[in-house]
Structures are given as structure tokens and as C-alpha cells.
Amino acid sequence: MISDVESMKANLRGKGSFWISAGFFLLIMAILSSSLVVPCLSATIPSPVSARHTPAITPPAPVANFSADITTGSSPLTVHFSDASLNTPTSWVWDLDGNGRIDSQVKDPVYTYREPGVYSVTLTVNAGAGTDIETKKGYIVVTRSAPGPVAGFTSDITSGTAPLTVRFSDQSTNDPYSWEWDFDSDGRIDSREQNPSATYKSPGSYSVRLIVTNKAGADEMTRGKFITVQSSPETPAQASPVTPTKATPVSTIPPTTIRPSHPLTTSPAVMDTGNEAPDFMLFLVLFISAALVAAAYLLIRSRSSCSSGNETQELHLELSGGIDYGGELPPVIDPAEILQPGDSREKKG
């Protein structure tokens, strides 16, 4: 009995929330309708413009300013400059290396400094109201280019019987940040670790290649027949002669760790899980139906508003005129006339 009462309460709560949602939806649609109809009317009637009484506005003088994405680095240093001038300049003149010559006339130039040095940058902007110059002395500092890497490696052993596990040691210089190892010279990268290990399962002689990369470039070293693997009577034939012993780690989540974040039944106050799906479907169907009805209503209303606006407010063009004598005589004011298509009436006094 108690569970029946709780179930009814839960149902009522569910339906109450439905009607609240539906009401909220209709409120939103009403707001949307007003925002749909107003642009419709405003699109029909342009805003008033008076070309005669437009006041002359003197634009403010421009204020030059700029920034760069990078201001220090080794050569060759490519810098993206960004104009940050105020008051909408119309032309830009850049001296990007401080030699007094124009290097660019675009708004946001890109410049590559190939020689080490300290460079001043000057931007001259121009607008109708004037010119402004901004110079940043010593803004760009270009250092000598970093040396490229030199690849080198050794291994703890170079021969043995299969399966042979070899530990390689990187001896590259100039701070490489990537390593690509090919343990059997088949052209495929077998490891990207700095100091990997590999197990050779088939007998043979293997060349080893290492490619290292740093900011300045890349270098490679290949040692031909560096590893010699001798046969062993008990070694079975392997499809792959060599495998890195340290596989790339793959993060996996054990199935047992997956838990629902919110248990479906935690307390009697929660809606009956057996009725949840039908209620939700009912809510969804009603919501979509209400949305369709509201959309159809709004469409009809906005169309009728637009069309009635056109019918009742058909635009027409009026011409009027006159003569100003500058005080010499009283001005002449000619009455306005509605201009009709193909109107060729001769108006005589």
C-alpha cells in the first residue's frame, strides 16, 4: 500500500514536471514568435534615412600600435606581426628590420629574419584624419641558429643466439627531441623511445638505423649488420624476426571498474524504473507535438503578418522639389506627386 502511494506521488511529480516543461516551452515559443515577427516587419520597412541632413563627421586620427607572435628566437625566425592600431587606419607601412626601408604594406605582415641581430620595427599608419608612427626599438632579437642534431647510438651487445635481446643507447648530440629506430632496416619504425630494447628472434645480420630530430633539423645514423643473431636449435621460425621488447603502453580500463555513476534505484522517492521509459516517451511525443503545433502557428502568423504588411503598406515613391534663391527671392516649393510606372504626364502650369 505504501509503495502504491509512493508510486502515485512519483507519477504526479513526473507529470507535474512535464506540464512545467510544456509551459516553459510555450513561453519560449511565444518569445521566439515576437522575435520572428518583428524582423519580418522591419525587413519590409527600412529604417528612415535622410541623406540631406547627414552631419559631416571628422574621423579621429589613427594611433599606431602592433604586436608580434614571437620576438626572440634563433635564425631563421619567422615572425607574424599584427596591427593593433586604433581608429581604423587605411594604410600600413612597415619597416621590419630597422633599415629605414619599407618591407611591407599589408596590415598583418609575416617576416623571416635570416640573420642574427637585434631589430627595431616601425609601423606608420595612415587614415583620412592623419598619420601616426610607432617604433619599437630592439623589438625582435634573433640569435644564431641552433645546431642540428648528430645521430649516434650504441648497444649493450651486438651478437648472440636467438632470441637475442639488445638494449640500444642513444648517443645523439644537440638535444634531439625525437628518435625513430628501425632495428632491422625494413623501412618501418620499430620504436620511438630514446633508449629502446629489441629482441631478435630469427638468426641473421641486422642493420640498425636511428633518425633523430631537433629544432634545427634531423640526422640519421645507420649501422650495417650491426646485430648478428646466430641460430639456435630450439628457436622456432617467427613471422617477425624482431620485436621491441617494450611495447607502447595502452591504457585500458578493466570491465570491473565500469560502474554506473548513479544507481537507478537508490531510494523509494525516485520514480518507478518500470514506468520511466513509457513516461519519457509520452513526454517526448507530447513535446514534439506541441513544438510542431507551435511552429505551424508561428509560421502562419508570421506569413500573414508579412503579407498583410505588404498589402496595407505598399510602398510608393513621391517626388517633390522646389527652388532656393538664397534669399534673393522667396523659395518655390513644388508639391509632391506620387510617381507611377510609365508616367509621362506633361505637367503644365
Binding site: 520597412i45 527600412p46 505598399e314 510602398l315 515613391l317 522639389g321 527671392l329 518655390v332 510617381l339 510606372p341
Partner: protein, 198 residues
Amino acid sequence: MEWMETSPEIADEIDAMIRKHGISAVRETVTLFKKSSSSTLTEHDIEREVAKRLSKYITQGLVQLSIERVRTTNEFQSSLRDSKAPYTVVLHTLLPLNLPEYTPRITFALKAGPTEIWRTESSFAIRSLVNLKDTRITLEENKLKEFRFGSLSAAMSIYLKKEQMEGAIHSFNRDLTVPGMMAKEEKQQGENSPNVSS
């Protein structure tokens, strides 16, 4: 006295001017009008109406200002008599009259019903030098009752006035006729003229 008819020579010149230069306000108006209305009004329709109005205004200004200038001439002043009866004087030759600048304007208004929703205006400055011969004036109690141009030639320049500048768009120098006021009508009506003297 009203001169509402347009000089055909001025109408020719204005037609040529509009064909040559167009009127930016006309283009602007047509563009906006076509966007907002289902009317079949064309740019040509508007240009024709503009030409008609502008020719009329230029003629009217020329005539009115010419009369005002003639009033100030020695010839006119010396023809004034202390007579209550109407009399007519022919001013055979007048010095060239430099007319003050005047400004015909055309206003374009886009309306929805009585509501004006857009407006623009084209103004033209007219500067002219007028030569008159055999101008016939009729006076009564020292008031000008009638004015007839005998021979009228004018050098005119038409400037399109913009907000902060103006540019000359058309000039001409030719003899003009003002219908109803020229020699043909004058001869026909001359028989009824009162005292004529020179």
C-alpha cells in the same frame, strides 16, 4: 506673372545631362524601391520625371531672376513714368546680366501609406549669364504688369551639390525660348498692346 512652362532648349540640355551623368539619387532610389515594392517603376521613369521637374525649375529660376535683374537696370529705371495708364517699353539692348546662383532641388521620398520611411535629395546649383534684347515690359502706375523676352540667350552651368562639395556636370550657351513669351506670341499680341515706346 507666372512662367510655368519649360524652355524646350533647357529641357534638351537637361535630358542630355541626365543621359550622360545619371543621378546617383535616382539609382539609389530605384535600388531601394525595387527591393521594397512590387511596383514596375523603372529608373527611366524616375529619370524622366526628374528631367521634367529640373527643366521646369531651371527655366522658372532663370526667368524670375532675369526679371529681378532687369528691374535694377538703368534702362528699366529710366523708363518709369508718372502715368496711371498702362504703357509698354521695349528695352532694345541690356548689358549682360549675371544672375545670382539659385538651387533647384528634387526630393525623393519612399512612403508606406502616409509614413515616410526613406528620403534623399538632389540639389543643383545654377550659375548663369543672360543676354536680353528687345525685352518688352508693360508698366502700370510704376508696377510691372507684363514682361516679355524678346531675345534671350544664356550661358548656364549646372553643378551637382553634395554634402561638402559640388561639381560642374553640365554647361551650355545658347539661345533660349520661353514658350508664350517670345516673338511669335508677342507679334500676335502686339496689336493689342497699349502705348509702345523705346
